[in-house]
């Protein structure tokens, strides 16, 4: 038996800490308006990448952790979103649409394109499960990459330069919070329970009236949408994308965050995304030993906590609920398993 590290005490303070952190960043950004620069470009960049990774990890968690379908093609969806939104905004930047309108528009377009591809992939691979599904999605992810590599409009292996740098911390924050909220609300609903039942026991789920095929495709489509969104943010942050950014290793990187945070735990994914994006940067002083330490951390974590940081639990679900619905009386009190008084 592996030793268990108790993290329950930690969970209570996670959400307030996260919100406080976001507020702090915003405060810094506001200060910047008045000429006081607190965080430099380098830190900003890391913060942006962290939040993009949060969107990716949370959306993959919906497919992998919640619905229990092992998907290795998430970078593919991200690529579709990145390229579609990038090409659109290069094209539309000549028009005089204001950025406030244009950017969300192209991001959504990228997300929808990815969702469409997600549906195309979801339908035929649905009969597969476990390892087989993983290999099929891996294949699809590679197909997407190779198609991008060979298209003219994407400029192939040279990569696509000249994407307007719309992405800043505000935008990323907005979309990160929205993505997490939407996926959280889905999980805490009827539809979310249907997804979970597929993971738990597909035969029983089907026998209990859950249209498993529909819900599996839905999980794929929703997950792909948010991956596409993240891809769009990524493209407009770097200003340049190439198929190399969306290879198999990127999918594995996202999967790592999901597994490390705990399959089925959204808060776990969020924390893991932050840690795994930040850790390589923090370890920079170790120079060439950096990746060794990084990998060793992963190995140790899996040895001592196989279920990931949070297992299937959410960090302080109670608090987020209160925060979402301040009017206590209207709330059914259903999600934490509390019965209502009768």
């Amino acid at each position: 038996m592996a030793m268990k590290i108790d993290v329950s005490g930690l969970k209570k303070y996670l959400l307030p800490a996260g919100l406080a952190f976001l507020l702090l960043i915003n405060l810094f950004l506001v200060l910047e308006f008045f000429g006081v620069e607190v965080i430099d470009r380098y830190v900003k960049g890391i913060l942006i990448l962290m939040q993009i990774n949060i969107i990716l990890a949370v959306s993959l968690n919906l497919i992998n952790g919640v619905t229990g379908m092992l998907s290795l093609g998430h970078a593919g969806f991200m690529a579709v979103g990145a390229y579609v939104s990038a090409i659109l905004s290069i094209f539309l930047s000549k028009s005089n649409l204001p950025e406030v309108l244009l950017f969300p528009l192209v991001l959504c377009a990228g997300g929808l394109a990815a969702a469409f591809i997600g549906m195309l992939i979801g339908v035929p691979t649905l009969r597969l499960r476990g390892d087989y599904l993983a290999i099929a999605t891996l294949g699809f992810g590679e197909i997407i990459r190779v198609v991008i590599l060979n298209l003219d409009i994407t400029k192939g292996a040279r990569g696509l330069p000249g994407i307007p740098n719309y992405t800043n911390l505000w935008w990323v924050e907005l979309f990160m919070v929205l993505s997490v909220l939407v996926i959280w609300n889905i999980i805490k609903s009827n539809h979310g329970r249907a997804l979970v039942s597929i993971r738990e026991n597909e035969i029983a789920a089907e026998a209990m009236g859950v249209h498993t095929t529909y819900y599996k495709v839905s999980a794929f489509v929703i997950g792909a949408f948010f991956a596409g969104l993240a891809g769009g943010l990524f493209a407009h942050y770097l200003g340049y994308i190439s198929p190399k950014s969306f290879d198999f290793m990127k999918s594995i990187e996202i999967l790592l965050m999901v597994v490390l945070g705990g399959l089925g735990s959204l808060t776990g994914s969020v924390i893991a995304a932050i840690v795994l994006t930040g850790l390589p940067e923090l370890l920079r002083f170790l120079q060439s030993y950096r990746m060794v330490i990084y990998s060793l951390t992963l190995v140790l974590l899996m040895l001592y906590r196989q279920e990931g940081l949070f297992g299937r639990d959410e960090a302080s679900a109670e608090l987020l609920r209160k925060w979402l619905t301040p009017r206590k009386k209207n709330h059914p009190g259903g999600e934490a398993g509390e019965p209502t008084e009768s």
């Binding site: 539809h191 026998a207 859950v210 249209h211 059914p332 009190g333």
Partner: protein
């Protein structure tokens, strides 16, 4: 009119004819037992009734509507719910969530309601929770609502499976060996529970069971299956003395 009418259904696996020409007529609120030696095809019949397998021939009618060839989730929505021989709970979910999932399709709110937590979402979620808690208290599981299903004692898991099946408000309940692995006391309790549930939910129940005293005491009518065919049908007393049944179970000669 009969609730469930099964006409001459058959199915083979490879060269083996698992069930041949099985017919059944169930009236409202009937409690019928399906017995037979191992491998007689009892669970296969359940699987055909719930859409897991599709019969090669014959017809299954529920309330005068054919459900033959429908997928399991649709049949469940039409009003047939079941439990499984080897318990299939959602193990890593709480007892309450297990029941709530079965209420899924009756939940009746859209993805949009869920994402925006609309009024409808809140109202429906409240309804779902109340209904699930009501069921759990009938089955004596209300106290365990926040426990994981896998941590329940065996007998309680069996009861939870029945509660979950009832959450979808079925008209016909199929119980696959509900008393398997229970001690005599638990079996007695289950018997009264089944009776109570039938009356309260206006249910028709078809059950497979190997515990003879359970079946004989509970069921009004018994169907005996051997090698995929009905060999006897009637009241418990008739079945007990039926020579073909005795032969099927004991392997004796028919005089």
């Amino acid at each position: 009119m009969s609730l469930l009418k099964v006409e001459e259904i058959s199915i083979s696996f490879g060269g083996l004819r698992a069930v041949s020409n099985f017919s059944l007529d169930l009236g409202a609120q009937e409690l019928v037992g399906l017995i037979g030696p191992n491998g007689a095809g009892k669970t296969t019949i359940f699987n055909m009734l719930t859409g897991v397998y599709h019969p090669e021939a014959g017809n299954i009618m529920l309330n005068g509507r054919s459900v033959t060839g429908m997928p399991p989730y649709k049949i469940n929505r039409m009003g047939i719910a079941r439990t499984f021989q080897n318990i299939r709970l959602f193990n890593d979910l709480s007892v309450l969530d297990n029941v709530k999932i079965a209420y899924q399709y009756l939940g009746g709110y859209s993805w949009r309601d869920a994402i925006f937590r609309s009024k409808r979402y809140r109202r429906k979620e409240k309804e779902i929770t109340e209904w699930a808690m009501e069921l759990l208290s009938i089955f004596g599981l209300a106290e365990n609502r926040n426990e994981l299903a896998r941590n329940l004692p065996y007998g309680a898991q069996r009861r939870l499976e029945i509660a979950r099946a009832l959450a979808a408000k079925p008209k016909l309940l199929l119980l696959d060996e509900p008393a398997a692995g229970m001690n005599p006391q638990e079996t007695m309790d289950l018997m009264s529970l089944v009776k109570k549930v039938r009356a309260e939910f206006d249910l028709t129940i078809l059950l497979i069971e190997h515990d003879m005293s359970f079946v004989m005491n509970l069921c009004e009518r018994i169907i005996v299956l051997d090698y995929g065919q009905t060999i006897a049908e009637g009241a418990p007393d008739e079945i007990k003395s039926n020579p073909r049944v005795i032969q099927a179970y004991l392997g004796g000669e028919v005089s």
